[in-house]
């Protein structure tokens, strides 16, 4: 075909974008459903049961309810910023999704289809940079509401994001040193070449990444920007209807993106377990996309599980943990990794 750039760079990505835009909001609805169910089971309750069998139609009923809600802008709010803030969060979340390699490429109708919308050679850097933009949404939304609780939530989110982003970046850096590439698909290939997932090479980094990821996405036990028992609903107290649901969508998109990044960095992305061991080759019949979904699903479940288990940190404990524990440990992890790499290289080469 003579104009492959058109199909490779325009049509297929646009199709994938369309699929994600169409499917992901529904998926978020069902993540919320699973969250309510799992939290209920943890507390020996049933969770939603009334709408449809086992409450399976509850997310759809909720979505319809949100559609009919009034879109309120507080009188003294900065209307433009107030309306823009949830859109920033949503755009950031969806943009993050486009970086993740979700499965091995395949050929359909004579076209090569890659299951990542963009595969840039600085994927990790770009992804982290874009995810950091979500802080703007929270800060702007909280400030523009011209109300006290949202402002407090916004300030908390700014401080929290900054302190945990540093630890997250140092943690990721150690992985990048081993992989020798910033490309997300390159990292998966590096894990295949090495024969093990990086969770076995970077166990400390893995745990650090999980905790920093929870803090980064403002989920319990680090949900201080929302903190419904202290700050009503934190930065989105004044939002209603669809703009409120934009915040929810953005939060769950961020959860999915961070889980996807974790899976890519430490658990071999869409590869089956033990990618080089012949013994497990019977697992090959499961396509990579399914492996990816299973792994990401596990970590989204972990978010819910953590929420059902731990109480919220106090604010000074959160900052103390970030600056006094996570940043030093991640730096030490980075140094030790670098040292071991040098030793390994001099021994091997």
């Amino acid at each position: 075909m003579n104009n492959t750039w058109l199909s490779d760079d325009v049509i297929i990505p646009l199709l994938l974008i369309g699929i994600i835009l169409a499917v992901f909001p529904l998926l978020v609805g069902y993540i919320v459903y699973v969250e309510r169910k799992v939290l209920a089971f943890i507390q020996s309750r049933l969770g939603p049961m009334r709408v449809g069998p086992y409450g399976l139609l509850q997310p759809i009923a909720d979505a319809f309810k949100l559609l009919f809600k009034e879109d309120i802008t507080p009188r003294n709010a900065d209307a433009l910023v107030f309306k823009a803030a949830p859109i920033i969060l949503l755009v950031v979340g969806f943009t993050g999704l486009s970086f993740l390699p979700m499965g091995e490429g395949f050929t359909a109708f004579g076209y090569d289809i890659r299951l990542s919308i963009v595969d840039v050679n600085v994927g990790v850097l770009a992804l982290l940079a874009i995810m950091s933009l979500s802080t703007y949404s929270l800060v702007l939304g909280g400030w523009a509401s011209n109300s006290k609780y949202p402002l407090l939530g916004a300030l908390r989110s700014a401080a929290q994001m900054v302190s945990y982003e540093v630890a997250l970046a140092f943690t990721v850096l150690a992985t990048l040193m081993i992989a020798g590439t910033l490309s997300l698909s390159g990292i998966i290939d590096a894990q295949r070449d090495m024969g093990v997932w990086y969770i076995f090479v970077q166990p400390v980094g893995f745990v650090l990444f999980i905790i920093a990821m929870v803090a980064e996405t403002n989920r319990l036990p680090f949900d201080l920007p929302e903190a419904e028992t202290e700050l009503v609903a934190g930065y989105f107290t004044e939002y209603s209807g669809f703009r409120w649901s934009f915040f929810m969508l953005g939060e769950y998109a961020a959860m999915t993106v961070m889980s996807g990044l974790l899976v890519t960095l430490y658990l071999g992305g869409w590869m089956r377990p033990f990618p080089n061991v012949e013994l497990f080759s019977f697992l090959d019949f499961i396509p990579g996309f399914i492996w990816f979904v299973l792994k990401v699903g596990f970590f989204i479940n972990l978010f819910i599980w953590l929420r059902g288990t731990f109480p919220r940190y106090r604010y000074d404990q959160l900052m103390g943990l970030g600056w006094k524990v996570f940043i030093p440990v991640s730096i030490v992890n980075l140094l030790v990794t670098g040292l071991l790499l040098i030793v390994w290289d001099s021994v091997a080469g």
Binding site: V38, A40, F41, I42, Q43, S44, R45, L46, M49, V207, W305, L306, G308, T309, F310
Partner: protein
């Protein structure tokens, strides 16, 4: 009381957090305790103090229940019948809006005439309907059960 000292290894391996996660994981797979009330109802204890009923064949109109009621929700009147010990209640009102279901009337009744039933669905549209007269007290009030 100072917090118990933890070893550095226990802190580094996040043992406390893992213990917590293990607890919630076990509870996730335990049977739940929710009773989906209108669709299913739990079995009540026989001593459950529900809506008051009066067996007026037994009542001797001794006024003990009226006297002991802390909420003064019982009003009755009696008259003598033919023969010894044949006093009976002519009217008997219990205001369930005032009743606190303490069970004192049931305890004090010498002939076990007034008793708490196992019935708890007493919702009505008017407060006046909560005052039960002798006819309702005898045969029980009309209960509307939930139906799909």
């Amino acid at each position: 009381m100072p917090a118990p000292k933890k070893s550095l290894a226990a802190t580094a391996l996040l043992t406390d957090l893992l213990t917590g996660l293990w607890t919630t994981l076990r509870y996730t797979f335990k049977p739940n305790v929710t009773v989906r009330y209108p669709l299913e109802r739990s079995v009540l204890h026989p001593n459950f103090r529900g809506i008051l009923r009066v067996d007026d064949d037994l009542c001797i109109a001794c006024f003990l229940c009226e006297k002991i009621c802390p909420a003064t929700c019982i009003v009755l009147e009696g008259e003598k019948g033919i023969g010894k010990g044949s006093k009976y209640a002519t009217f008997f009102y219990i205001d369930h809006a005032r009743c606190m279901f303490c069970g004192l009337c049931e305890e004090v009744c010498p002939v076990d005439s007034i008793y708490h039933s196992n019935e708890f669905e007493g919702a009505v549209f008017s407060r006046a309907d909560l005052v039960h007269d002798l006819a309702i007290l005898h045969k029980g009030h009309a209960i509307v059960h939930y139906e799909r």
